[in-house]
Amino acid sequence: MPIFDQGYQHWSGHLAGHAWRWLAITRRGVRTALQSWPVRLALVLSWIPALVLTFVLCMWGLVERQSETIATLRPFLMGMLGRPVVAGPLEYRADIWTLCFHYFLAWELWFSMILVLVVGPNLISQDLRYNALPLYFSRPLRRIDYFLGKLGVIVGIIGLALIVPSTIAYIAGLLFSLDITILRDTYRVLLAAVVYGLVIAFSAGLLILALSSISRNSRYISLMWLGIWMITGTVSYILVWVAQEQRLREGHFGRHGWFSEQFLTTEIDFEKTDWRSLISYTGNLQRIEERLLGTNSAWRKLFDIAPPNTRGSLLHRMLYTQHPWYWSAGVLLVLAALSACTLHFTVKSLDRLK
């Protein structure tokens, strides 16, 4: 069609104010991310733990109602949860929900890291690579709008992977309980899951944005993210393990020390002042999750009613999350501050405008 065939019409529509301008960037970012098959695959896989959680919560609802549907499963449940729990489930409702969500969130943390790995590196890096910053900064956008818009993409994707499934699973659990008091007992669990999802989204989002702004090559950024996620976790685990092994030897516990209630109790006390767990990025996030959900209290409650031969395994699950939660919060805050500084210095609207 020749130029000018259609002419040019003036437009006198309404332009929105500045407050929500970042939402346009987020909307487009999420839409683009969802067009990518690795993201869609990771999202679908991330919903599998949510399905399992939903199933378990529904089963627990049947346990609470002493339903005949699960009569054949009672021996199995007694072996797994303990007789007192199955006999008086209402008393342990909040703890069981807490631990179910704890396992769910541990899986979702892993999927969140994967999703950030797939979605995050290109967020700013691509704009730098294709000199697309003038597209944003020559329009009525501030840098904070740009950053908020990009951060919103990560928040949106993690919301889809963690917050939305948590909420759906929670509602399904409520429906199967048929008891209004469950809201009073468990609303904190949903609240904790949502807050934890936001903590992951903002922390990981800021971090990946900062990484994304320091290179035009998104592969390097992916590698850096893998380093932060996996290498810090591995280093932290190795340091903790070496120290534990040393104490195991010094205490002459032998190989059975790992199942010894005495050794594990002293380990839990020792970890209350151990800094080694702080090295792991995901370890710090998990410590925040423990604090929000109150997982340790739930384990303690089960520990008190557990037979002596299973107590060691319960104590074992409480390792690695004993240091003060505010240490981990501090580490995450410092990382967020460093990320914000990096963004401030690397994304200069003027330098990029030729």
């Binding site: 130029i3 000018f4 437009w11 006198s12 529509g13 332009l15 301008r21 944003y136 329009r139």
Partner: protein, 337 residues
């Protein structure tokens, strides 16, 4: 400085958007134009020891404005200042009647900018890209998409709207950038080197579009380019910068003034004898291609040319007063100490 008195650069023609009675301006009601497109008052901007803008004062009328200047002359800094992207060290100014020191976001809402860089990210359809540009200015998703279709039709990319932008040719990319600059119907469009690296056909299309926008669609244009014929083809008015200072500004037709004592002459036959005769009369004649450029002394009139032709029995086929080209205007302005 070759500053020229002007009437807005339109030779008495009123720009089509200067509606004073809004009731008469159906469809143009948001275009109440200020008298001047932009003005700078003693604006100084330094980067370290470099003065990018040096006590720059100028007032530029509405219309199609060419921005000329060699590299490092301050063109880019001026564009950044116009868009409210950088704080100036000293001075003040307005763009479309808005202070560029305080109303940066409002200015950028009313200005469309097509940068020199490609700035197109891949895996996006042309229509998505333009709609996204509209959303970033504050248009709703629906409005932006509808408007994107309209402007893509206008710039001649209607049939390529669903193609990924990475498959576009250089000319198509330039037109796409132009479409994203005008998607929100700005009052001023800034085009930075829009014809760089383009083939003649693509270049003509972009120039045609720019000219149409500025002259028929009531959109002000700031056209920054090194290619003088392009500026001349699109603009009515030029601003020439050099070392951060204003070297010249004015309506192109007035800057290209005629020279009363200099003429371009073409003869039917050999010009040697004619040239010698003119030299005896105190004239200076220099060959310029097929023409002879003759400068006559101040005390003589063009009649001496006819006298010399009659004396040497040669026929004058072409005689016009010399008129400066834009290139000469530019070079004179830039080379002036």
């Amino acid at each position: 400085m070759a500053e020229v008195e002007h009437d807005g650069g339109y030779g008495g023609r009123c720009p089509p958007y200067s509606f004073l009675d809004e009731s008469l301006a159906d469809g143009y009601t948001n275009l109440v134009m200020p008298a001047n497109l932009f003005q700078f008052a003693s604006v100084t901007k330094t980067y370290g020891h470099v003065r990018a803008l040096d006590d720059l004062s100028l007032t530029v009328p509405t219309g199609a404005i060419g921005l000329l200047g060699p590299n490092g002359s301050g063109k880019t800094t001026m564009i950044r200042t116009l868009l409210g992207l950088i704080p100036v060290d000293r001075g003040s100014g307005e763009v479309l009647g808005m202070d560029f020191r305080h109303r940066q976001l409002d200015i950028r809402r009313d200005v469309g900018f097509a940068p020199e860089d490609e700035c197109l990210f891949p895996h996006v359809q042309g229509v998505e890209f333009v709609a996204y540009a509209g959303e970033l200015v504050g248009m709703s998703g629906g409005d932006a998409l509808q408007r994107a279709h309209e402007v893509l039709d206008y710039v001649g990319l209607g049939e390529a709207r669903y193609r990924k932008v990475e498959s576009y040719s250089t000319g198509m990319k330039q037109r796409l950038k132009l479409a994203s600059a005008i998607v929100h119907d700005p009052q001023l469009v800034i085009l930075d080197e829009p014809t760089n690296g383009m083939d003649p056909a693509g270049r003509n299309e972009v120039l045609e579009l720019a000219r149409d926008l500025a002259h028929n669609k009531g959109i002000n244009l700031l056209f920054s380019s090194h290619i003088l014929p392009d500026v001349e083809a699109v603009c009515d008015y030029v601003v020439v910068l050099g070392r951060g200072k204003l070297l010249a500004q004015g309506a192109i037709q007035e800057l290209k003034q005629t020279h009363e004592q200099s003429f371009d002459v073409r003869l039917k036959s050999d010009s040697a004898a004619f040239t010698q005769h003119l030299a005896k009369m105190g004239c200076v004649a220099e060959p310029r291609g097929e023409l002879l450029r003759v400068r006559i002394p101040a005390d003589k009139s063009p009649q001496c040319l006819w006298e010399a032709a009659a004396a040497e029995r040669v026929q004058i086929r072409h005689l016009l007063p010399q008129r400066s080209t834009l290139e000469e205007v530019f070079l004179n302005a830039v080379e002036r100490p």
